[in-house]
């Protein structure tokens, strides 16, 4: 949730039941951001500009990009060491199918949304397609395959550059770059994916997904075999924040007005309602794509989240898609 903004009126249907006290954005969130932004000084100013633009757009109504959906060309960079990591075209295409359901609210499991929030389930009006032309205008499958000597990657962007054992991006002002690789196993376990928010360095723009959490076929492995890791990471790429607000207390925010305030990430397959931060009777919106639950337990974006994504497409990502 987000601190109340007077003229913001994105609520519909069940949104009336979402009520929570105004919250202050506190040092926890700021600290996280500061650490993140220290690496890229211009990223900070970009994010400030983007927040302003998003706020303006959301206030002026969100009819932008009315009409048909925006189609975003994707290039998938498969970076593999073993042959099993060189995932099939079919597995890649199964991921695109998931995105095209989730970003049009055509995913059948949205019917599992609790009744009180059904009115909030919103079509993002974005479609995705593997690129049919490469940066030079030549026909392409929209898939690159790179053999690497690295048996795994961390979250340090090395996979995004040929010089560090990965694959170079295609121009990120025209393509959504998705790298698919194996992440290192650390004492905290294995990452499923990571993203870059709008406004960051073009050379590393895009999302990175674990090969066994990509698509619904081939090496995709339960409980992360329904393609929702990519749905979640693209949410970040379109400027969405975690629904718990990235702090361990109740003062964090996801900068969205129609999601309940929530203390912590949820994991696994939670049962409704799960109450934190005095957000009863309905509790956490753990079935939102921006929580941390299993693939089969997340199935919705809200109107407020869609407004942020639409504003992002109209602003910092206006050069991408048709």
């Amino acid at each position: 949730m987000k601190e109340k903004t007077k003229s913001l009126n994105l609520r519909s249907g069940g949104a009336k039941t979402v009520k929570s006290a105004p919250r202050r954005r506190q040092c926890g969130t700021m600290a996280v951001h500061q650490r993140l932004l220290e690496q890229y000084p211009s990223f900070r100013q970009n994010l400030v500009d983007i927040e302003r633009l998003v706020a303006r757009r959301m206030l002026s109504g969100m009819a932008a990009r009315a009409g048909g959906p925006t189609t975003i060309p994707i290039v998938v960079h498969v970076v593999f060491n073993s042959t099993a990591e060189d995932i099939s075209d079919a597995q890649i295409k199964s991921q695109i199918v998931v995105l095209n359901k989730d970003y049009r609210a055509k995913n059948p499991d949205k019917n599992k949304t609790p009744t009180v929030w059904r009115g909030l389930v919103t079509d993002v009006n974005i479609q995705f397609a593997l690129a049919s032309k490469d940066p030079n205008g030549k026909p392409t499958t929209g898939i690159t395959r790179t053999h690497t000597t690295h048996t795994s990657f961390s979250d340090d962007n090395a996979v995004k550059s040929a010089a560090t054992g990965g694959a170079d991006p295609w121009p990120s002002d025209k393509f959504l770059n998705i790298w698919v690789c194996t992440f290192e196993r650390t004492p905290q376990g294995q990452l499923l994916g990571y993203a870059q928010f709008p406004g960051g360095p073009p050379k590393t723009d895009g999302v990175v997904i674990l090969n066994t959490a990509f698509g619904t076929k081939g090496t995709a492995t339960a409980p992360f075999n329904r393609g929702r890791t990519t749905t979640h990471e693209i949410g970040h790429w379109l400027n969405l924040h975690h629904i718990w607000g990235d702090t361990a207390h109740c003062e964090g925010t996801d900068f969205v007005d129609d999601t309940p305030n929530q203390q912590l990430p949820n994991f696994g397959k939670p049962h409704f309602p799960h109450i934190t931060c005095s957000n009863g009777p309905n509790g956490d919106m753990f079935m939102n794509y921006m929580d941390y639950v299993d693939d089969d337990s997340m199935f919705m974006f809200t109107a407020g989240q869609v407004a942020r994504m639409t504003a992002t497409l109209d602003g910092p990502r206006s050069t991408i898609g048709t």
């Binding site: 996280v32 993140l36 004492p187 905290q188 990452l191 499923l192 890791t229 994991f267």
Partner: protein, 107 residues
């Protein structure tokens, strides 16, 4: 209620959130050697015997967020984490129970 003194000898370890074992009221941590299933993210804290602390959190873009600090066991059963020279802890956790392979704290 009287606070229960915990066994401080087993505390200095690298503790990782075993969220699969959480209950409504408690969070469960296991040593880093535990065989964790894949997860979108796990927080952890490495309590070094010399009182230094390495925390790993979840960044807004799903990367790991590493921070350094110091830790103390206070009032027999309270873990307090400090950043830099600040006098107030940035995180305080009440320990319900701890042995060498399981740490349980109150949410």
């Amino acid at each position: 209620m009287m606070s229960k003194k915990v066994n401080a000898d087993v505390l200095p370890q690298w503790w990782v959130h075993s969220h699969e074992e959480d209950t409504e009221a408690e969070m469960v941590f296991r040593p880093a050697t535990f065989n964790f299933p894949p997860s979108r993210g796990r927080i952890s804290f490495d309590l070094k015997p010399d009182g230094s602390l390495a925390e790993s959190g979840i960044a807004p873009d799903d990367r790991r967020l590493e921070t350094k600090g110091t830790w103390k066991l206070e009032d027999d059963n309270t873990l307090a984490f400090y950043t830099g020279s600040q006098s107030a802890p940035h995180r305080v956790m009440r320990i319900t129970s701890v042995d060498k392979d399981r740490l349980v704290i109150k949410k």
